[in-house]
Amino acid sequence: MSEVKEIKRTFIDGVRENLKSFGLPRLIITAFLLLMFIIAPFTGANFWVQITNVINRFSWNAVLVLAMVPMVHSGCGLNFGLPVGIIAGLLGATLSIEWGFIGPMSFVMAIVIATPFALLFGLAYGWLLNKIKGGEMMIATYVGFSVVSFFCMMWLVLPYKKPDMAWGFEGTGLRTTFPIDKYYGGVLSNFLRIQIGRLVIPTGALLFFALLALMIWAFLHTKTGTAMTAVGSNATFARAAGINVDRIRMLSVVMSTWLAAVGILVYEQGFGFVQLYNAPFNMALPAVSAILIGGATANKASITNVIIGTILFQGMVTMTPTVMNGLINLDISEVLRVVVSNGMILYALTRKTEATR
């Protein structure tokens, strides 16, 4: 009798333990998203169209979220400095177009051109972050902002000439937004695209993400990757074990920056436009909250967190407007997005276990 009770108790404890590790906010968001999917058909929205939207948005954003992983692993915290990498990507994009590459080649060249910038920016950014260990997140935020606002000037001043990008009447300075259909718009999404009824799967973009994710996963299992995890979980211990902490951190920042550069290019090929000037300002927070929603903490993140987080976050973003509009003719999705994404970051920042790092 008492044995049964015992087992029952341990079972309940187990469930509770699981719930705890899953986290209340994540549970709420998952439940919310499921609810949205259930309600959606009643509001007149086509289920498969909705699924397509979510998959599409996932394929645009996943790489940007993946860019969080290396820095979180090495203990540099959440990469609020994502815009630094994004700027490198934008430089790659604009220069590739300026130098006359078109079609899929322009995408490849954009990555190739963005790479040296990403390395350079990453090295400088990593060097700075090594100087200010412990205060990374705040400084990363403002380094990102500074770089973005500096490049706001550069987009105007740099001698871009291509009429597809520059302001028509002046011929100088880049436009805030320009389409890239002629260049690499949809190069990944349309590659091996599968269409079943109204469900469309952008296979190429998903494969590209899978490739990068696999690379990161494999890297984290190499010797250097293990060292990175060690630095992230206990820097003092790692140093005692003979790991060059600063070098590893630097490497992680460079990797994150490069992934962000590639991430923005993937985003653009899906979105179909290049956005310059103030656009990168608002790109760090969604990526940060996506990975947190996926179950990452300020010093622990896995590929699974990236995938789950991006699906949940993008699902929320795409589902809420349609459902809310259909249901009560009131679009509070923007407000909901702001509250949920920042609420998630706050939740992560205020948890005791992480504060004592």
Binding site: Y142, S149, L156, L349
Partner: protein
């Protein structure tokens, strides 16, 4: 001898290093004034306007710095409270000085509640207050939108149609405050040699400065400083650390609310959804330009900061236009400078903190060695 020389030059370097940002700004401004081609009268008038408009807001940042909580990016919450109060007073059509005073009074409870929430959250995130307060300001911006864009007019009664959106609920993107425009500034305003001086606003600011000076000497003020120096020591001394920290944030938020009313009465127009969004950044940048750091700020820093930062702000677009032929470059430049200044200040603070830590470690090691010798 050599050693002495070193310390002297070290001191000079320290002095330069500590005031690097203001010095840099003075150079930028000295460079921009002749290029911009503004008359000194115009500049003086503009600076006086900005001084009366912004100083009170920036003063609200001082107290959390004293309590060791860094730059309070959560001051935005106070600004939102003030905006909500102003929406109500405009809807009730209470204008002029009574409108301003009522808005200030109404903003206080809203600010206090928001500040309380903010303080509680910050207590759960000790050591990362700044990033947390920064995210709180974003989070609360969402809540603010929910209230102002969806609840006002539907749940919260709003009478007048020039405030409501045409759809029947929610507040328009801009609230007209022409009828309280400069109501405060124009009382007792004096014109000296073509420069308009809003005496009453300046008197309010002066009074606030005195209050802050007095506050530093009170028991609570002393407690805050103790908490700012070392939380553990303060706790051992019997100070309610958490409570003190919350109070400092509440005071800061309330002051920011009052400051925002002063700011908006000077502007005479309120962008409902964006007036508050940049205010924290500009105030913090101004304070830092005045030579403050994350852990140390004085009233002097506030005034110097307002003058230097806003002079740059006035000059940048036209100087940019003259240099690059494009006014927008100047506008981007001043945003870049604002962010850049905050970045530099944060980096300097963190490196100083690390150096102090390392220095303490070295001292401890030296002391231990000495002990061993004996």
């Amino acid at each position: 001898m050599n050693n002495k020389n070193k310390t002297a030059s070290g001191k000079l370097l320290n002095l330069l290093g500590n005031n690097a940002v203001p010095i840099m700004f003075i150079i930028i401004i000295a460079f921009c004034i002749p290029i911009s081609g503004f008359s000194s009268l115009f500049l003086l008038n503009e600076i006086m306007t900005r001084l009366s408009r912004n100083t009170f807001l920036i003063l609200s940042l001082l107290i959390p710095i004293m309590a060791g909580m860094g730059l309070n990016f959560g001051m935005t919450l106070g600004a939102m409270a003030a905006e909500i109060a102003l929406i109500f007073t405009s809807d009730w059509q209470i204008w002029g000085i009574p409108g301003i005073v009522l808005a200030m009074i109404m903003s206080i409870p809203i600010s206090a509640v928001l500040g309380l929430v903010c303080g509680k959250i910050l207590n759960a995130a000790k050591g990362r207050e700044m990033i947390t307060s920064y995210i709180i300001s974003f989070f609360m911006n969402g809540v603010y939108q929910l209230v102002v864009l969806y609840m006002m007019g539907s749940i919260i009664p709003i009478v007048h149609n020039n405030i409501k959106l045409p759809r029947g609920y929610g507040v328009r993107a801009s609230v007209d405050l022409t009828r309280i425009r400069k109501a405060l500034d124009n009382v007792l305003s004096v014109n000296i040699g073509g420069v308009n001086i809003p005496v009453l606003t300046l008197l309010i600011i002066a009074a606030m400065c005195l209050v802050i000076v007095w506050f530093r000497r009170t028991k609570l003020g002393q407690d805050m400083r103790a908490v700012g120096q070392d939380m553990e020591v303060a706790r051992a001394a019997g100070i309610d650390v958490e409570g003190t920290r919350i109070i400092s944030i509440v005071i800061s938020t309330v002051l920011a609310g009052i400051g925002m009313v002063i700011y908006l009465q000077n502007m005479g127009d309120m962008a409902t959804y964006s007036s508050h969004s940049q205010i924290g950044m500009f105030c913090i940048a101004a304070l830092l330009v005045g030579g403050a750091s994350v852990d140390k700020a004085s009233i002097g820093n506030v005034f110097l900061g307002v003058i230097l930062f806003h002079t740059m702000f006035i000059l940048a677009p036209s100087a940019g236009a003259k240099i690059t032929g494009n006014e927008v470059v100047g506008e981007y430049f001043r945003v870049f400078v604002s962010y850049g200044v905050i970045t530099v200040a944060l980096v300097m603070y963190e490196t100083k903190k690390r150096r102090a830590k390392a220095g303490m470690g070295a001292q401890l090691a030296a002391a231990q060695q000495e002990g061993d010798k004996r």
